[in-house]
Amino acid sequence: MEFLRPATWDEALAAKAENPSALPISGGTDVMVELNFDRHRPAALLDLNRISELTEWESGVYEGQEGEVIRLGAAVPYARITRELARQLPGLALAGNTVGSPQIRNRGSVGGNLGGASPAGDAHPALLAAGRDVFVEAASVRGTRLIAIDDFYVGVKRNSLEPDELIRAVRIPVADGPQQFSKIGTRNAMVIAVCAFGFALHPRSGTVGTGIGSAAPTPRRAVAAEEFLADELAERNLWATAG
């Protein structure tokens, strides 16, 4: 097995272009489990741990997204999301709090969840609920494209990345209303979701966001429920009055 350790993002993209089957690894909380169980033997591992910008986040204004947006580096660990972004991304922070154990939360990241695209990934329902204008930055030597979160999940453990693409960051609008996340597992901590649910109200756009995990081949929205609830809130004039 090849072990590639690029020092810069450009080197990483070049390495991925050259070895499209290389499996990116950062926290290793998912990849290493697969390797240890011998379920998966990639021809090469692409270690992203030397690329510091992946573990940073910034806030800004981006085209195609309304209001303030958090550009969350792919490898920012859940522990930091919960600690540093609970106000801006409350749904994701709540979801991050349910990931594995404290040790796992120190290593695991949203980029890993997206790369693995497991229907049980805890971040997915929160990302879906956060709005239709959540974008995954997919980068390659060919350039960067933005994949809307609704288009990202395409099957069980499959996403819409091209073989030469790496996840650089996720752009998530800062919450403009309440967000919640909950999941059901059969233990009170460190448990895989039997079912997870992300929920967000977006008063600015008068929309409702939902995300359901672990209940279908991909994470998915409850579209009819979103529409129903948004309409109900509008009919009763609750968007404007905030309840």
Partner: protein, 909 residues
């Protein structure tokens, strides 16, 4: 997590002696800091120059004939040093604790999923893995014998061990059976004496010891043709007794030294990789190390016997028990292991700590193609503890307080058990119950100051107080200490006293396996108490006589007792030396501060001066009082060495909508006779209680057609710190005159009563029958039924369960619990929404997404046809049909917990 309250602290002070590091003190454990810091050397850390790595090829089938094994291609792989099958075994091919029925490597047939077929030694684990992948085994797969019905009809379903190979104590697919009949037995006349009769069938799932240090060891070939084995085990000498004949070596050429043990709980009582490593070392002439992965560990050791128990209790109107019948069927799996002893305990302790004049019990252990089961903390008695459910139901029938009913029938010193054995030591059962009952209850759930970590679901954020109902439950247990039924499980200790650096030093040498129980610390305390300050502990090995097993709550009693005897002998020898040399005549000598002191004449001499260059080195054996085997037909006999008792009160919060449970507090009271190390005693009680908590609400190895479905800590769940509540402990110290220092074995009793206390509390919260452990969410919500499909849950779950109690159980929810958050929506009062019982081994899979969705949103599930949010959700789920999905997406994680039907899980972590 709130801080743990140890109410035992009060007792701690009471029972601490003046000598802080002698008995009664709680000196720091020598291994404690190292383990917490990750610096302790476990057996998996062993290393030797030029060592090879051993690995086993295991059967993917539960029952099969081996038609051929072709190792030729594997042998061509560079780096492979040896590849062995049973043909290569130089000695006898079978081993076993009591019944030698297990082949060291499979011979022509497979009896359980994971049975070892071949072993390899290679220069690297990866080479070993690749070599095993090249071994070609041709199997003829047979239908496994897995259910009680199949096992008991061998002529139809087959024999696990063909009659000509059968080595058990009975016949067919029964390994061992034991009856216990006392009083008048249970006849129609006796039944007529009872005003109230309750009966029920109960089930216990297969629990795993789940020790954290996987099986591992290092076998080093010696120049004399023997083997030195460094190994994590529970009993060095019985390992050796089983290993040597397979290697074709005399026992003295197989020398064992204990390596760092990462927990045991009974799971290391049987051999795992020992013989395999030795065979490979013998063949290659090189040191061979074997370390199991976590997955292999689940196949490499025996588990707790799953059981089906049918109990019938009769009582008078005023609550006195008149009779009890029990039929206890334990699934022993493919090989005998400790099944006979488990049956002995299950039958003789089936009655619990109660006086019942007329008893008729039979317990049997089956051979099956399920995983082998054997020793695990509290064995036999843990399974029989399901009778506590009966007592709750009886109390409900009688309209009595469950604790009062127990106290009314509790044994005490002088009581006779159904085996005819009189309890000849304190048995404060009623008092222990009273102690936990009198402890202040934890505060009620306060939804205004909420920490979700304190709620069912914890950080998963599934409730902020809605649907949460509190329940309180009690249980008390009866466990034997030491090996029973005529077994002389003596212990040996060697104590050497000599002067080192001008100071007297006592060295304690035993073969006791320190598996984490704190035995090394206690040995130091005993030697310090008997001989003085400075004590060293020699590594445990087979150079000294047997210490027996670190199991059955026996090590402090037995090997601790041996250390006491040897230390006393050394002290007496020291005094004799002085008498000879200096003509002391008094009989009032003692050792104080490194000096020989006479009560009448004061300080006589320092130990250092008395000993000089002389060393006193003495070995003593400690035997407990003899017991006898139980009569096969009546179960009569003085079968047990000592009894031990523990009571629990469990307080739980149940999310009745989601079926999630949070144990809020688990209080224990135990009589320990004498707490040699109070802190360790509390640790044992809290650890045992937690292992019982695991069995109550989550821990179960799931098998389907004999195959283990959840061999990982992703799918076999054990309690985390957020599942583990504060555990106040009350310690009683009523000395047993038959034991050293009056002590009583501690480690197992808490495991018996914590499980039923928690189940009883969940029952109090939900009113459900809960006849099976572990209690899983679907048992509480009633959502998993064989016929279930989305939308049909309510109807199907209202049918009475199969094997349901004959009598109607009145609502058991205490009024105060009902007010906590309103009555639970599915409370059985009136509707009796009880769950169906599932067959022991085949939990039926039924997806139920839409139902779950409703709960997820906490929306009203009662009006699905109206235009309500959950009806809208039904639209959302339409393209995703569960039945299709279960076929096309086999690895999808839609199952609740570790269940049958679950494929290896995509781990999202």
């Amino acid at each position: 997590m709130s801080t743990r309250t140890i109410r035992g602290e009060k007792n701690l002070q009471d029972i601490t002696t003046a000598h802080p590091d002698g008995i009664g003190g709680s000196p720091l454990r020598p291994d404690g800091t190292l383990k917490v810091k990750g610096e302790f050397a476990y057996s998996s850390d062993l290393w030797h120059e030029d060592m090879l790595w051993g690995m086993a090829l295991r059967s993917p089938h539960a029952r099969a004939r081996i038609l051929s094994v072709d190792i030729s291609e594997a042998l061509t792989l560079p780096g492979v040093y040896a590849l062995l099958t049973h043909d290569d075994i130089p000695g006898t091919k079978f081993y076993g604790l009591e019944i030698q029925d297990q082949p060291a490597l499979a011979i022509d047939q497979i009896r359980y999923h994971g049975e070892a077929v071949a072993i390899v030694a290679a220069d690297h684990p990866e080479t070993a893995r690749r070599a095993l992948a090249k071994v070609k085994v041709e199997y003829e797969v047979l239908t496994p014998i897995t259910t009680e019905e199949q096992c008991l009809n061998p002529e139809t379903h087959g024999y696990v061990h063909e009659p000509h190979e059968y080595k058990g104590h009975a016949s067919g697919n029964i390994v061992h059976q034991q009856k216990v009949v006392s009083g008048l037995g249970v006849t129609d006349e006796v039944r007529a004496l009872a005003d109230v009769v309750v009966s029920g069938e109960y089930q216990v799932g297969m629990q795993d010891q789940a020790f954290l240090g996987p099986e591992s060891g290092l076998a080093v070939p010696a120049e004399d043709g023997g083997i030195d084995l460094y190994i994590a085990t529970q009993w060095l000498h019985v390992d050796r007794q089983q290993i040597a004949p397979v290697l074709g070596l005399p026992e003295n050429k197989v020398r064992l030294t204990l390596a760092g043990v990462g927990g045991a709980f009974g799971g290391r009582e049987d051999l795992s990789m020992q013989i395999h490593a030795c065979l490979l070392a013998q063949r290659t002439g090189k040191p061979v190390k074997i370390v199991y992965s976590r997955e292999e560990s689940f196949f490499g050791h025996v588990h707790r016997h799953p059981a089906t128990l049918h109990y019938e209790h009769g009582a008078t109107r005023d609550g006195k028990l008149v009779f009890m019948t029990a039929r206890i069927v334990l699934d022993g799996g493919a090989y005998a292991s400790a099944s006979p002893a488990v049956v002995g305990n299950a039958s003789s302790l089936s009655v619990g700590p109660y006086e019942i004049p007329n008893v008729d019990v039979i317990a049997i252990a089956l051979y099956s193609n399920n995983p082998s089961c054997g020793a695990m903390r509290g064995f036999g008695a843990v399974q029989a503890a399901r009778l506590r459910t009966q007592l709750d139901r009886l109390a409900a029938e009688l309209g009595m307080d469950p604790v009062e009913l127990r106290q009314l029938n509790a044994v005490s010193q002088g009581s006779y058990l159904p085996t005819g054995q009189q309890i000849d030591a304190p048995a404060p059962v009623a008092e222990l119950l009273q102690k936990v009952k009198d402890l202040p209850l934890p505060p009620a759930l306060d939804v205004t100051h909420l920490d979700v970590r304190e709620l069912p679901g914890a950080l998963s954020n599934t409730s902020h107080g809605e649907g949460i109902v509190r329940g309180v439950g009690y249980a008390v247990g009866l466990k034997n200490v030491g090996f029973s039924e005529g077994f002389d499980d003596y212990s040996t200790a060697r104590v050497r006293l000599e002067v080192i650096g001008g100071e007297p030093v006592a060295m304690v040498h035993t073969a006791m396996a320190e598996v984490g129980q704190g035995g090394v610390t206690v040995h130091g305390q005993i030697a310090r108490t008997e001989l003085g300050e400075r004590v060293t502990i020699h590594p445990a090995n087979t150079e000294v006589g047997s210490a027996g097993s670190t199991s059955a709550s026996r090590q402090t009693y037995m090997t601790g007792g041996a250390v006491k005897l040897a230390a006393e002998a050394v002290r007496n020898e020291l005094f004799a030396l002085g008498r000879t040399r200096y003509g002391w005549t008094g009989n009032d000598l003692s050792l104080v501060g490194g000096k020989v002191v006479s009560a009448s004449e004061g300080v006589l001499i320092s130990i250092a001066d008395l000993l000089g260059d002389h060393a006193i080195d003495l070995t003593r054996e400690h035997h407990h009082r003899p017991t006898v085997p139980f009569d096969k037909e009546t179960g009569q006999g003085f079968g047990h060495v000592q009894y031990t008792f523990c009571a629990h009160r469990a307080v739980v919060d149940v999310d009745v909508e989601l079926g999630l449970v949070k144990v809020v507090e688990l209080a224990a009271a135990q009589d320990v006779g004498k707490a040699l190390n109070p802190l360790s005693v509390i640790g044992q009680i809290q650890g045992g209680s937690t292992q019982g908590l695991g069995l109550a609400v989550m821990e179960e190895i799931i098998t389907r057609d004999g195959k283990v479905r959840n061999p990982s800590f992703t799918d076999y769940l054990i309690p985390t710190i957020l599942d583990t509540p504060p555990q106040p402990v009350e310690i009683m110290e009523l000395p047993d005159e038959h034991s050293p220092y009056g002590l009583r074995g501690v480690g197992e009793a808490p495991t018996l009563s914590s499980t039923p206390a928690i189940v009883s509390a969940i029952r109090a919260a939900t009113g459900l029958a809960l006849n099976r452990v572990p209690v899983r969410p679907e048992h509480i919500t009633g959502t998993l039924t064989p016929t279930h499909f989305p939308g049909a849950a309510v109807q199907s779950s209202q049918q009475p369960p199969r094997g349901a109690p004959n009598s109607t159980t009145p609502c058991a929810i205490p009024p105060q619990a009902r007010t906590a958050a309103g009555p639970p929506p599915h409370h059985p009062c009136g509707t009796h929404r009880t769950h169906r019982q599932h067959p022991l081994r085949s939990t039926v899979f039924a997806p139920r997404f839409s139902y779950r969705f409703r709960y997820d949103l906490s929306l009203d599930p009662g009006t699905p046809d109206q235009h309500t949010p959950h009806a809208a959700l039904a639209g959302a789920r339409a393209p995703w049909h569960p039945h299709q999905a279960s076929r096309t997406v086999p690895c999808h994680p839609y199952l609740m917990g570790p269940q049958a039907g679950r494929e290896p899980h995509p781990n999202p972590l």
